[in-house]
């Protein structure tokens, strides 16, 4: 019998978890549900639906932080920030589209974005979600209400529980509200495009841009097939691969840096430049993984050293096929491939392992995500330590058991 608990207050979250802990009854923790397809597929009959905990609690632009209830839609937060020319610098992706949601505004809750530690193209400059996450109120799997961090940018008050909860996929505690940094949005955005670079050349060009003094805030490479799917005509109509390098900031400085980058990059191919609106669209497409056409393909996310990206892709191309594009200067590879019953996980992981990187199966049918480890399997001692962390927060195993690791 499926039961959905829908608390409206932090106290009701506490009651629900106390009940679950008492009964030994696992709960599927759910924000807006945009990322239900992310993580191991688990069959948990009872759902803790947090959508009743929605709304911005504290936002004063001059304070440079915001506190919001955990299931507040990212779209609502972004809209409030936009009115004040501010932003979340980690650019939380809208995974809803990847998982078959609607097309328009951002889906997903702020709690989910932090719980999955998601970050967009600006990660290489501004860090991941966890780096912008200042504090929270939560209920642990033991049924204790607790808070950590606060509204200041620096504190060293004991163990860094915020960092543990970011990326814990709701397996340690249920956050009821979160506080995160907000920053002034850039006055101007420009994207320098290099046309026609091959993968290896693009990696070198991106490294040169990121290593220069031009404060590049994103660098991506779209092989021809990915570029062709962009809604930005300069990119789609190029008819060849497109490498994109973004600069942001005050107007004169952006123009100056674009000129410097153009001089630096012209040896890699023909140069084009995108202005604010086209830039925004292109980076949204990259952020939200919209540059693949087949909607039912399996999708992997590969983290590798940027310098190794092109080699990893070359070896995968011959072993497994599929299409790719690169973000984070080549350190992040999105791979879309035809459906395999084992998602080719051994081949994919072997290709990445040589570089010291790791692979996450982002999209596949539930039965595949039950058989194949979605996250990179950990070495034994690390696995044991992670299990102890879980034990410390959720000894009865009631929160999202199995979402990250089988049996835990």
């Amino acid at each position: 019998m499926t039961k959905t608990l829908k608390p409206e207050t932090a106290e009701q979250v506490l009651d629900a978890i106390k009940w679950a802990a008492g009964e030994g009854m696992p709960l599927a923790v759910r924000g807006q549900g945009s990322k239900d397809g992310f993580g191991r597929a688990v069959d948990i009959p009872h759902c803790l639906d947090l959508t009743g905990l929605s709304g911005i609690k504290a936002y004063e632009p001059s304070e440079l932080y915001m506190t919001a209830l955990a299931a507040t839609p990212v779209a609502e937060i972004e809209a409030a920030l936009r009115q004040n020319n501010q932003q979340m610098s980690f650019e939380p992706p809208n995974m809803g589209i990847l998982y078959g949601g609607a097309n328009g505004e951002s889906e997903g809750s702020i709690g989910g974005a932090i719980g999955c530690n998601l970050a967009g193209p600006r990660r290489i400059q501004a860090g991941a979600a966890r780096d912008h996450f200042l504090g929270f109120n939560a209920v642990s799997g033991r049924g204790e209400v607790f808070k950590s961090g606060g509204t200041v940018v620096k504190n060293v008050t004991g163990f860094d529980l915020s960092k543990l909860l970011a990326g814990s996929f709701g397996t340690l505690a249920v956050m009821t509200d979160v506080t995160f940094k907000v920053m002034p949005a850039a006055e101007k955005t420009r994207t320098v495009l290099i046309l026609g670079a091959d993968d290896a050349g693009a990696m070198v060009a991106m490294a040169a841009s990121l290593g220069s003094a031009n404060e590049v805030s994103a660098a991506a490479h779209l092989p021809e097939a990915a570029a062709a799917l962009s809604g930005v005509s300069y990119v789609a109509d190029a008819g060849q691969a497109v490498t994109a390098v973004r600069v942001e900031g005050p107007g004169p400085s952006v123009e100056h840096r674009c000129r410097a980058l153009t001089a630096l990059l012209k040896e890699f191919g023909e140069i084009e430049e995108l202005h604010s609106e086209n830039s925004a669209l292109l980076w949204r497409e990259i952020r939200d993984v919209r540059l693949f056409d087949a909607i039912d393909n399996q999708i992997w996310r590969l983290s590798v050293p940027p310098a190794a990206g092109a080699n990893v892709v070359a070896s995968l191309r011959s072993d497994i096929g599929g299409r790719v594009f690169y973000d984070w200067g080549g350190g992040l590879i999105w791979l879309s491939m035809g459906t395999l019953s084992d998602a080719g996980h051994e081949t994919v992981r072997a290709a990445v392992a040589d570089t010291g990187g790791h692979a996450t199966l982002i999209r596949a049918d539930a039965d595949v995500r039950q058989r194949v480890p979605v996250f990179e399997p950990q070495a034994t001692v690390l696995k044991d330590l992670s299990a102890r962390v879980k034990q410390g927060f959720d000894p009865n195993g009631v929160l999202n058991p199995g979402r990250m690791v089988e049996g835990e």
Binding site: S62, E63, Y65, N117, G127, A128, R130, D131, S140, R142, E144, V145, F146, K147, S148, G150, T151, V152, V153, K154, N155, V156, T157, G158, F159, D160, L161, K163, L164, A166, A173, M183, P184, A207, G211, A213, E215, S253, H256, R257, S303, P305, A307, G356, G357, H358, F375, P377, Q378, A379, V381, L382, L385, S386, R388, V389, G392, F393, M404, V405
Partner: protein, 464 residues
């Protein structure tokens, strides 16, 4: 205060067994034990029973295994510059001094990272990097060990731009409480798969394991650097300038405040002639054009708050002298009162409340009659009051403690924290409870799950 959950005591047998691992790199002399059980503050010293000086992760692993079998406390020790009794051996035990683990293992210029043994200090690392065009930015006042900086989650004058240890540690090798060795992530910038175990150890103050190797993120030395000092007519104008700078998102590399008392101290200590006024110290990093643009923006803000002038330090030597003087601020304060020592507070508040907090605190200092300069990483909302006092004088110590309690209460009322960078040790355990309440029991559960016998630096952060 001794830790409640009892540990066993060191005996001769254990000392012999330790000698079997490290040979002569072991000491039980009073001088060495004394040095390892105290810090530079008023906290009561608690010497360990024995100090060992391992040279490799495997040695640390064997030492910890031995202690685990016998339930003996293990206290990791970097350079001992922490300020809240962090290294005090409250229940005795074995101090693991990591200073001989001082090798820079691998500079990875292409991926902009470096792996060091835990005993390498921040200055040693930057000296090593000199010819690579790269640098490591986190710079607490002391020349601390990178292991200790990781364990205390340290920050410094450049945190406003480059972040603290939390943002710059990529991976760790750690010896756990049972002696097993882990690498929190396989290489480089990859966050470990699963829970963020790297950051769990960042700031754990030696209570979860011994950090033996640290992989750190490096940065390219900027194309252009310029520094300036800028005096203000009053404290509020200086702080307001820093707030406005941050709110406008100007990417300053450093923005540090010193009040006029602190200026007098550094002039005396470092033989400088800066004006005796509340002052902001700035540094800008970037391209030539970027630095000019940032400097112009900040000058315009400062002018609105009646700053008299920007004095530029263009030569590298002058710049280095300026920042060395800033780093020596704590010691410089002693020059104000020969024979006295310093006690440093460490609150941090949301940037928008900073002026209010500093001005009220300054009033409190004046009313209490303490000699107490203010210096601050104001871009982060963090500032220190360095109370210069005689640790032997019970009345002065009591007044200083009462002042600190008022300061912490004030900061908490403004949604701030009792410690922005120095940490909890055992000196701030009560404040931690006041600030976080139930989170302390979550931390305790975590500590018990990871170190069930409570042998790792017992009595710090949480009491069991």
């Amino acid at each position: 205060m001794a830790e409640a959950k009892a540990n066993k005591r060191v005996n001769d047998d254990l000392v012999e067994a330790l000698r079997g691992i490290v040979g002569d790199r072991l000491s039980t002399t009073d001088a060495v034990l004394g040095h390892h059980g105290r810090d530079e503050t008023y906290h009561t010293p608690h010497p360990p029973d024995v100090v060992v000086f391992p040279e490799a992760t495997e040695e640390v692993s064997r030492i910890v295994s031995l202690c685990a079998e016998r339930e003996i406390p293990v206290i990791p020790f970097g350079t001992g510059t922490s300020l809240e009794g962090h290294v005090a051996a409250l229940n005795g035990g074995v101090c693991i001094d990591l200073t001989r683990m001082n090798e820079v293992i691998r500079v990875n210029a292409e991926d902009m990272d470096v792996t060091v043994q835990a005993g390498v200090t921040r200055k040693q690392l930057n000296k090593h990097l000199r010819d690579t065009g790269l640098f490591f930015p986190v710079d607490p006042g002391a020349d601390a060990s990178l292991g200790g900086m990781t364990a205390t989650r340290a920050s410094g004058t450049t945190t406003v731009r480059y972040g603290a240890m939390r943002e710059n540690v990529l991976a760790l090798t750690v010896v756990l409480a049972d002696g097993r060795i882990i690498k929190t992530s396989r290489r480089a910038r990859k966050s470990a798969a699963g829970y963020d175990l790297t950051r769990l150890f960042v700031g754990s103050e030696g209570t979860l394991g011994v950090i033996t190797e640290v992989t750190l993120r490096l940065y390219g030395i900027p194309e252009a650097i310029s520094a300036a000092i800028c005096p203000f007519p009053d404290l509020a104008s200086a702080v307001n300038t820093s707030i406005r700078t941050i709110q406008m998102g100007v990417g300053v590399a450093r923005i540090e405040l010193m009040d006029e008392v602190q200026m007098e101290a550094i002039n005396k200590h470092s033989n400088l002639d800066y004006p005796l006024q509340p002052t902001l110290l700035f540094e800008f990093h970037g391209s030539e054009a970027g630095v000019v643009e940032q400097a112009e923006t900040v000058q315009a803000i400062a002018a609105e708050f009646d700053a008299s002038e920007f004095r530029w330090e263009t030569k590298t030597e002058d710049r280095n002298r300026l920042w060395q003087a800033r780093h020596d601020a704590y010691y410089a304060c002693m020059a104000l009162r020969p024979g006295a020592k310093g006690f440093s507070t460490d609150v941090c508040v949301p940037i928008s409340r900073l002026t209010e907090c500093i001005i009220e605190t300054r009033r409190d200092i004046d009313e209490t009659g303490l000699m107490a300069p203010i210096v601050g990483h104001v871009g982060d909302g963090n500032f220190h009051v360095i109370v210069v006092m005689d640790f032997e004088n019970a009345d002065e110590v009591a007044r200083a403690k009462a002042f600190n309690e008022r300061l912490v209460t004030r900061a908490l009322a403004m949604d701030g924290t009792c410690t922005g960078e120095h940490g909890i040790g055992h000196g701030k355990i009560e404040f931690l409870t006041a600030e976080h309440g139930e989170a302390v029991s979550v931390m305790r559960a975590l500590k018990m799950a990871i170190d069930p016998m409570n042998i790792m630096n017992p009595g710090k952060i949480v009491r069991l």
